[in-house]
Amino acid sequence: MATPEKVSHWIEAFGQKITDNKAYLNELDTAIGDGDHGSNLTRGAAAIKEKMLETEYDNLSDLFKDVGMTLVSKVGGASGPLYGTAFIEMAKTAKNSQDINELLQAGLDGIQKRGKAEAGEKTMVDEWIPVIEAVKSGSLSNELIAESLQKTKDMKATKGRASYLGERSIGHIDPGAQSSAYLFETMLEAGVLDE
């Protein structure tokens, strides 16, 4: 069950992971984008950390909302509104549910509504879709997260900045899928899926 406590740990760990891997995310984005995905999300992570230090959350919706709003207002670029919308949609759903399936699905729907990407377009969506399926069937593992990530390598980007590379985008991991992989790895670590 997604409790405010567990989710706080999750978000914190996610922020730390992003910050630790800022250079790597930038590197992935240099290959097929404009090299700032790590910098963008690290800026967001720092702001979330600050926000969470000054607030006690007894309510999942408020927590997701603050995360979403902070991402929207600090990250910019493509990933800011996408991750931001995901968390804001999760906040809306969290008003009535603490079911992680429903929450994540709401997040994905938000991303797809905002960015209009389908599966196979080499975006973060290609990490979210298989992960959510696995969560639903109770089979999410680090292996699956990593495999889904690797699959973005062979895809040709048709959304976002990487789409300008056409065929040349093939052979590189999508940076947004990588940051989403971190999101789900830390979700597992934080025990959000545990009873």
Partner: protein, 330 residues
């Protein structure tokens, strides 16, 4: 990375302060924001807001002022501004007749500006927008995020700015924008990549004897890499692409902008303009009634330039291009 900066994280903030200090009779920075707003008197006209990632100076703050933009929101370098910043720009620019947004066609920009529009509408401000996608280097297809917005955007600022100054309504400006956009096309060539100070390394690699056609203003890949060649051959390639895209006839009236990418000396830009003139005027017989050369939409310290043409379908567009403005950089 050899740059005159203090810390990569402070570049945008310090740059906006430096700009505001230098030109405080023309512009102000809205407190606690990344928004540059003009100081001209409010007059109840439609507000014009643009912006985008930083690194394209003088875009967009350099075009804030009477006759052009009401405000510009600056993002981090090469990163779209966030919706809350754009919202502040919109609020400061609303004089009761609504606000029109000029957005360059990048996934991030479009999403952030659209979110800002939604937020402004919640505050009862009428907002409409246009997405500029003048870069013909990328074919518009379902396989890309669409054509990119580059230097032509500045001419959109100018033409819509003059229309807004003339008192046109939000609806009229939207219609004008929709007529205008298909008539603006640009294409560039890069000799060297930009180095984003927040990243620290050049955005792409290119040989000492190579150039790349169609590179975007964030270093997005172009359509062909070739050996370095004379200005006239570069001009011929860009003109040929524009010719295919416009399908013009002798005597057609166009505006032309040669735009430097940030580290291209004016010397080279003028040499290039001379070649463009030979091709477009002497060979193709076009009537280039508006001409401009210089750094308008840059890519930090990229070497290269872009060529923009506007088909002047409507005679008022030329008047709008020539109308006086009070900005830092037009």
């Amino acid at each position: 990375m050899k740059k005159i900066i203090n810390h990569p994280d402070h570049v945008v903030d310090e740059m906006l302060n430096g700009l505001t200090f230098a030109y405080d009779s023309l512009v102000e920075r809205l407190p606690d924001t990344m928004v540059i707003h003009r100081k001209a008197d409010k007059n109840g006209k439609v507000g014009l807001v643009s912006g985008g990632g930083s690194g394209h100076e003088p875009s967009h703050a350099g075009f804030v002022g009477k006759g052009m933009l009401s405000a510009a929101a600056a993002g981090q370098v090469f990163t779209s501004p966030t919706p809350d910043q754009v919202l502040e720009a919109i609020k400061a620019s609303d004089e009761g007749s609504g606000v029109f947004l000029i957005i360059k066609n990048y996934t991030g920009d479009v999403m952030n500006f659209e979110m800002a529009k939604d937020m402004a509408e919640l505050e009862d401000i009428e907002v409409d927008y246009i997405v500029v996608d003048d870069d013909i280097a990328v074919e518009d297809s379902t396989y890309t995020a669409g054509k990119r917005g580059i230097a032509g955007t500045v001419l959109v600022h100018k033409i819509l700015g003059a229309a807004a100054e003339e008192g046109k309504s939000l609806q009229e400006i939207k219609e004008l924008a929709e007529k205008l956009i298909p008539n603006i096309k640009s294409i560039g060539v890069a000799l060297s990549p930009a180095t984003n100070p927040e990243v620290g390394n050049p955005g792409f690699e290119i040989g000492d004897d190579e150039i790349e056609f169609g590179v975007g203003i964030h270093g997005e890949p172009g359509y062909r890499r070739e050996k370095l060649q004379p200005s006239k051959d570069l001009a011929a390639e860009l003109v040929q692409q524009l010719k295919k895209a416009f399908n013009w006839s002798k005597g057609d009236e166009y505006a032309v902008l040669v735009n430097g990418m940030g580290a291209t000396p004016l010397m080279e830009q003028f040499v290039f303009m001379n070649d463009v003139k030979k091709l477009l005027v002497d060979d193709e017989g076009l009537n280039l009634t508006f001409r401009k050369v210089g750094d308008y939409m840059t890519s930090i310290d990229m070497e290269g330039l872009s060529l923009t043409l506007v088909k002047l379908e409507d005679p008022t567009w030329l008047d709008y291009l020539n109308a006086p403005v009070e900005t830092i950089s037009w």
